[in-house]
């Protein structure tokens, strides 16, 4: 998780095309705002559709992967059984011809935006496609030029590069504490609050959640220690990841035309995931357990920006055209995904006594692989 965010967030910093939304918002102040409002809204809509498409593979799978890696296998019968686990999990999303590039014709179409036909998705190893955003005359939709230089009143830049992993991943590692409640019922909790400092800024990651699992097959057999058991697991996870850049490095610049002094923006990503799974466990011997599992999982994912973006016009020519020379903009982008999918997979538990290792594969919207190391701290009553 951290590794991914660190490499992905600075690339979002290149998202300077967003600035044109603000540029236009500002340039139009002195003219009839209503005349230009549609252009501003169109660029916002285009930006949102692009941002959502770019982050789609990550934001539509991170919550699912965060809520995997719960233990399978037999549940301790004793109350007070206490174990500690270190759980790592990641979605592994194949990148193929269908999701390698974002097609511009599938995004919101805006008359004042022209762009390359294809631009890479988040995990693709390719440079972002070119894009030009123009200020149009409201009456004719003609592009406008600076009368002195002949330059179009536009911003030209590239969209966000792919991070180049070649495979979509959503990795994280999280500690987990599990306690036996008796009657083959176990409660597990995961918490991961921490912050790391980078050259670019500070990344705050917090995730927490829990699961309860119960052996339902015990109610249908008299066998005290059967090799085959069926467990029901209910789990809930949520996370918040935010990136607060150092100083004014995020979506900011200062050139002959514009400055963004006073801008303070934060990128944030929230997910909430609920899951219900049935585990069908088979103990091969005292060292090995295997299982298959299936059920349903629901995720909500919100990706967006918080804070304020400030834009000031430095250029004398543009200042002549507008009344206001400063503009503030809040809630630049927001992308939300709600999804319920079937989940299923299998796992392998190895170990005896104090330490166990567990490998798990789940298909929930995409491939998810989990690895856990578990240590028993207390055996319970």
């Amino acid at each position: 998780m951290i590794k991914l965010r660190v490499s992905y967030i600075p690339r979002l910093m290149k998202c300077s095309w967003l600035l044109l939304v603000l540029l236009i918002s500002n340039v139009v102040q002195a003219q009839t705002l209503q005349d230009y409002e549609m252009q501003v809204r169109d660029i916002e809509r285009f930006g949102n559709s692009y941002f959502a498409a770019y982050t789609n593979l990550f934001s539509s799978n991170f919550g699912f992967s965060l809520n995997q890696g719960w233990q399978g296998g037999a549940i301790p019968k004793q109350a007070g059984h206490l174990s500690f686990s270190l759980v790592g999990s990641t979605a592994i999303i194949p990148i193929n011809d269908g999701n390698r590039y974002i097609r511009m014709d599938q995004l919101y179409q805006s008359a004042n935006v022209i762009a390359a036909s294809l631009t890479p998705g988040m995990f693709t190893d390719a440079k972002g496609g070119a894009i030009s955003v123009f200020l149009l005359d409201p009456a004719t939709n003609n592009r406008l030029v600076n009368p002195v230089t002949g330059d179009y009143l536009s911003a030209n830049f590239n969209m966000i590069d792919g991070i180049g992993t070649g495979v979509g991943v959503t990795p994280f590692v999280m500690p987990q504490l599990s306690v036996g409640l008796g009657k083959s019922t176990e409660l597990s909790l995961r918490v991961m609050p921490f912050a790391i400092g980078l050259n670019e800024g500070k990344v705050d990651v917090s995730a927490w959640g829990g699961a309860i699992r119960h052996n339902i097959s015990q109610w249908f057999t008299d066998d005290e220690d059967p090799n085959f058991t069926v467990n029901l697991l209910l789990s809930y996870m949520r996370n918040k990841t935010s990136f607060t850049p150092n100083g004014e490095r995020f979506l900011t610049f200062n050139n002959d035309y514009f400055s963004t002094a006073g801008t303070s923006l934060e990128l944030s990503h929230h997910t909430k995931t609920q899951q219900a799974l049935a585990f069908f466990n088979y103990r091969v011997n005292s060292f090995v357990e295997i299982y298959g599992h299936g059920g349903v999982v629901h995720q909500t994912s919100d990706l967006g920006t918080n804070g304020v973006f400030k834009l000031k016009i430095n250029d004398a020519y543009v200042r002549d055209v507008v009344e206001e020379t400063g503009y503030e903009y809040r809630d630049l982008f927001k992308s939300s995904i709600n999804e319920t999918v079937a989940a299923g997979g299998f796992g392998l538990l190895l170990g005896r006594g104090f330490v166990k290792a567990e490998v798990q594969y789940t298909y929930a919207n995409t491939h998810i692989a989990s690895l856990a190391l578990r240590a028993t701290l207390l055996k319970g009553d």
Partner: protein
């Protein structure tokens, strides 16, 4: 013994499962520094058009440089090797001068049937010929304004106001009320809607009237132009943040056009209507 066999089977099954998983999921992304953008048009379209070329970016498109023509083997295909950092422009012209000088917004109007990206190729297929023909309907005046002839790839053309006539067809070129208009020069650059135009101030007569707002201390200014109205006869030159009076003087009705002459109606600062003949600056 039985347990040991079961264990082996279980391990073998799991190993094979994981191997299959990796083979299917861990396909490495293909990096394409250069992609072939393949534009496929209906064959009938290729046969009917007088000119069809694709350019890597707007500058090449405007200047008419580095054009890609239909593939000599497969005439309905245009193959443009490019990268994602370019914005291709398609230039289609029919013999009657109707055209589609396509920026990206215009490309949407060309009703793409499908786009496929596979490996290092992206294939853009276009709609049937009849749909395309109805879509490619930009006025031939665009060609007349900026080019010397139908097959010229790109460039610009400068027009001078030669003579001005009143509603009774009397030559009023030298009358004082038309002096502010008389010496204007217009250089139209190739491009679609919102292409550039340069306006030069009259050299001999000097800047006067409402054009003082346009030029100020300058001798030339840039603007954009387009042909408006359902019949695309209204030539509108757009300059940002100017008065309505100046906008009115920069709006013309095109009465007749050709590569060598342009007849327009226009107004002077006194709201009088005149009819002007423009000729290319290199005209004899």
């Amino acid at each position: 013994m039985l347990t040991s066999l079961n264990m082996n089977k279980a391990f073998t099954t799991l190993f094979l499962g994981l191997l299959l998983f990796c083979l299917s999921s861990c396909e490495h992304d293909k990096v394409c520094n250069i992609m072939d953008y393949i534009y496929i048009f209906p064959e009938q379209t290729i046969e009917e058009v007088a000119y069809i070329k694709v350019y890597t970016n707007e500058r090449d498109f405007t200047e008419g440089q580095h054009a890609v023509e239909p593939d000599s083997l497969s005439k309905s295909q245009l193959v443009l090797p490019t990268d994602q950092t370019s914005i291709p422009f398609i230039d289609i012209r029919y013999a009657d001068g109707t055209n589609s000088w396509s920026n990206q917004a215009e490309l949407g109007r060309l009703t793409q049937k499908s786009i496929e990206s596979a490996g290092c190729k992206a294939i853009f297929s276009y709609a049937d010929n009849a749909t395309l023909r109805n879509t490619i309907n930009s006025s031939a005046i665009y060609l007349h304004l900026a080019l010397q002839q139908l097959n010229q790839n790109g460039g610009e053309k400068t027009w001078l106001i030669d003579r001005i006539y009143d509603e009774d067809k009397l030559d009023v070129t030298e009358r004082p009320e038309w002096q502010c208009v008389k010496g204007l020069k217009f250089t139209f650059y190739k491009g679609g809607k919102g292409a550039k135009v340069k306006i030069d101030a009259p050299v001999a007569e000097g800047v006067c009237g409402v054009f003082e707002e346009l030029f100020g201390e300058k001798s030339e200014v840039f603007a954009t132009y387009s042909l408006e109205g359902s019949n695309q006869k209204e030539l509108r030159i757009t300059v940002p943040a100017v008065s309505d009076a100046l906008k009115e003087q920069l709006t013309f009705q095109v009465l007749e056009s050709d590569y060598d002459s342009l007849n327009i109606s226009l107004t002077n600062g006194s709201s009088q209507i005149g009819y002007a003949t423009l000729i290319p600056s290199n005209h004899d």
